[in-house]
C-alpha cells in the first residue's frame, strides 16, 4: 500500500519547458536552410505565369536573374508605367546586359561557366516587345541557356 501512496501530494505537476528552445531552434535552422535571403528588392511588379512543363533550376550560384515588369507604384513618377527591366537591384536598359552577365560570370568557377542559366522572371501581362529585345541581347552576348520562370497552377 505505502508503495503507491508515497508520491501523492508531493509531485510537482510542471511540464519542463527546457527543451522548447531546442524545438524552436530546430525550426529556425530548417527555415534558414530551405530559404534564401531576399537578394534584391523588386522594383518592378512580377507575377510569373502558370505553366506545366517545368524544370527546376538546380544550382543557385549558376543563375542570374533578369526581371521584367511594370515599375511598382512608388517608382512610376520617375520611370513611368511602361514595362522595364531590372538587373540586380536597379532599373537597366538592354545595353547593360553584357556587363551584367560578365560580372556574374567572373564569380563562377571556369569549369561551370557553360552551365550558367539566365532566369527571366517576366510578368505575365508584359508584351513581348521588351522580352524580345532582352532575348536578342542575350543571344548576342552568347548566353543561350535561358529559363522562363513560371509556376504550376495551384488550381489544377
Amino acid at each position: 500500500m505505502s508503495k503507491f501512496s508515497k508520491k501523492r501530494g508531493k509531485a510537482d505537476p510542471e511540464v519542463s519547458t527546457a527543451s522548447l528552445p531546442d524545438i524552436i531552434f530546430m525550426l529556425l535552422f530548417f527555415f534558414m536552410v530551405v530559404t534564401v535571403l531576399r537578394d534584391a528588392e523588386l522594383k518592378v511588379k512580377v507575377v510569373t505565369p502558370f505553366a506545366t512543363e517545368l524544370t527546376k533550376l538546380e544550382e543557385k550560384s549558376l543563375v542570374n536573374y533578369v526581371y521584367i515588369g511594370r515599375p511598382m507604384p512608388k517608382y512610376q513618377d520617375v520611370y513611368g508605367t511602361k514595362p522595364r527591366m531590372q538587373l540586380g537591384d536597379k532599373f537597366a536598359t538592354v545595353a547593360e546586359i553584357p556587363l551584367f552577365l560578365e560580372k556574374h560570370k567572373v564569380k563562377v568557377p571556369e569549369a561551370k561557366r557553360p552551365k550558367i542559366t539566365s532566369s527571366l522572371r517576366v510578368d505575365g501581362e508584359v508584351t513581348m516587345g521588351i522580352v524580345q529585345d532582352v532575348k536578342t541581347e542575350l543571344r548576342k552576348a552568347g548566353q543561350l541557356k535561358v529559363n522562363y520562370s513560371a509556376k504550376r497552377d495551384p488550381k489544377k
Binding site: L20, R38, K60, T127, M128, G129, V131, K145
Partner: protein
C-alpha cells in the same frame, strides 16, 4: 534553493529569430521552362526551302490569337494538334514526313502578351514531352524523365528531335 538559470525565455529569443528569418526570406519557386536560344547570326534562316508539309507554323498576333498552319486555333487544342503533326500516326500527306523532319516555327508580335507566348511555348514543349514519354514507355518501358541514362535519352531525342525555330517578331501591336 535552485541554482539554475531560467531557460524559459530562451524560447522567446529563438522565436524572435525565427520570425525575423521568416520575414526576410522567401521560399523561392525557382522553376520554369528551360529554353536553349539559337546563337546570334545576322542573316535570317531561310525557311522557304523546307517542304511545306514539314513546317508547323504558329503565329500569335497582338490580340493573343493563334493562327496555326493558316487556321485559327485555341491554345487548349494546340498540344493534341502538334502531337498529331509531329508523329503523324496515320501517315497523312499534309503532316510531317517523319518526326525528324518536323519543324515548328513560332512567330509572335511585339504586342503579344508574354503570358500567351509562354502558354503556347508550354503547349508545344508539352507535345514533345508527351511524345518522348510515349516513346520511352514503348522502347524502355519507363516514363521519360531526366533521370534516364544519357544513352537512352539520346536515342529518344534522335528519333524525335525538338526543333523549334522562332522567327523575328512582327511589329503591329507594340504598346506605345
Amino acid at each position: 534553493m535552485k541554482n539554475e538559470i531560467n531557460a524559459g525565455s530562451m524560447a522567446d529569443i529563438a522565436f524572435l529569430l525565427l520570425i525575423f528569418f521568416l520575414v526576410t526570406t522567401t521560399i523561392v519557386e525557382d522553376k520554369g521552362i528551360t529554353v536553349k536560344l539559337p546563337p546570334w547570326s545576322e542573316e535570317e534562316p531561310d525557311i522557304q526551302k523546307l517542304k511545306e508539309r514539314n513546317v508547323y507554323s504558329v503565329l500569335v498576333n497582338a490580340n493573343n490569337q493563334l493562327l496555326v498552319r493558316g487556321e485559327q486555333m485555341r491554345i487548349t487544342d494546340l498540344r493534341e494538334n502538334a502531337k498529331e503533326f509531329i508523329a503523324n500516326p496515320r501517315k497523312r500527306p499534309d503532316l510531317s514526313e517523319k518526326p525528324t523532319m518536323a519543324i515548328i516555327s513560332l512567330k509572335n508580335d511585339r504586342g503579344t502578351e508574354y503570358d500567351t507566348y509562354l502558354q503556347v511555348y508550354n503547349e508545344l514543349k508539352g507535345a514533345y514531352n508527351e511524345l518522348w514519354d510515349e516513346l520511352a514507355r514503348r522502347k524502355f518501358g519507363v516514363p521519360y524523365s531526366d533521370d534516364l541514362p544519357l544513352a537512352q535519352r539520346k536515342a529518344i531525342k534522335d528519333e524525335i528531335p525538338m526543333v523549334l525555330s522562332e522567327a523575328e517578331p512582327t511589329n503591329f501591336g507594340e504598346e506605345q
